[in-house]
Symmetry: C2
Subunit: 168 residues, 2 copies
DNA sequence: AAATACTTTCAAAATATTTTGAAAGTTCAA
DNA sequence: TTGAACTTTCAAAATATTTTGAAAGTATTT
């Protein structure tokens, strides 16, 4: 397998996986492309490499930037914008965990809070069982949220710790 | 908020969230419906409650059964099949983690193994950096896989432990 | 100020996914 | 074996998502 074949394979695999992670195939492919590119790429480069339109590249790159896993880089003397992916896979993982927590878990927790304001006869066994299910869901969601929070915090501290070591 | 309103709210919220978890809205809604139903439901009940077609109910219930979070129950004397959701949200969470591990993480790891069989000049800096990125992805994926494995195993042991306690 | 080099937007087109419902399949009782 | 009660399948329709590309927008140079 040559380098280019290997890259193609990885981009394909990443793209396929994307869909099960709630990310569109193209967005995942753009991410993979930047991840394995040794240099920052322009919109044109990405269009060419993945055979997709300008608008498509623009939207997906913007989303990846929103996720905090791709950066815009400006090269002195160049008008064009270049894009590069965060290469530290741990940081990528943490960033994704952080965003998913914010986008998925937190809205769920808010919805559950809402639903648990139900005002009904607590002696009704149906009400009681519903209240219990919601309570369990809340506990579960909060527990997951806290666990993620702890892991993310720990990772961030670890990151800053190694960062500050540079100045010691 | 009445019981029925609260149920509707929860079913809606669960459905909305489903999409970001790579599960179709309807499948998530069927799950939520069964989760908050105090009794097992028939295909007709689900059709009625969610206003969806027979075929749709059939497919989604089958998928939920595949995920291991909904069970078919047969009532003596009844020809119809009834469905009920696993009510223990921890078990549901573990089951989902287990399935996602199998369906998403494991294929990724296999793809990465494939890609790392690249045979190319290791002195080429581009090849070297690619190999490194793949190596890091592998480490990350394996680490996540092992962590999940450990958590799932721990939960299962815990479950069986409490189960056996019943007989002490 | 005008031309140039780029980026962004967004309505329409293409594509992918989900849903329907009727027909085919299955099971069971008589 | 037939018919009634139910479940499953799947091609076509409906719906949702993604992609395109040209026009509008923005920034920089001349």
């Amino acid at each position: 397998m040559t380098l280019d074949e290997a890259k193609q394979h990885l981009i394909q695999a990443w793209g396929t996986l994307g869909s099960s992670w709630g990310v569109s195939r193209t967005m995942a492919q753009v991410h993979a492309l930047l991840l394995v590119s040794p240099v920052a790429m322009t919109t044109e480069d990405i269009m060419e490499a993945l055979q997709i339109s300008r608008g498509n590249v623009n939207m997906n790159v913007r989303d990846l930037i929103d996720w905090g896993i791709v950066r815009k880089v400006l090269k002195p003397g160049e008008r064009k914008e270049f894009f590069e992916a965060e290469k530290d896979v741990w940081k990528v993982g943490m960033q994704v965990a952080k965003e998913r927590k914010k986008r998925e878990l937190e809205p769920l927790i808010r919805a559950l809070e809402q639903v648990s304001t139900i005002e009904a006869d607590i002696t009704d066994p149906d009400v009681k069982q519903f209240a219990e299910t919601v309570e369990n869901l809340k506990k579960f969601a909060n527990n997951t949220n806290n666990t993620l929070e702890t892991i993310i915090k720990a990772e961030e501290n670890f990151f800053w710790a190694s960062f500050f070591k540079l100045f010691k």
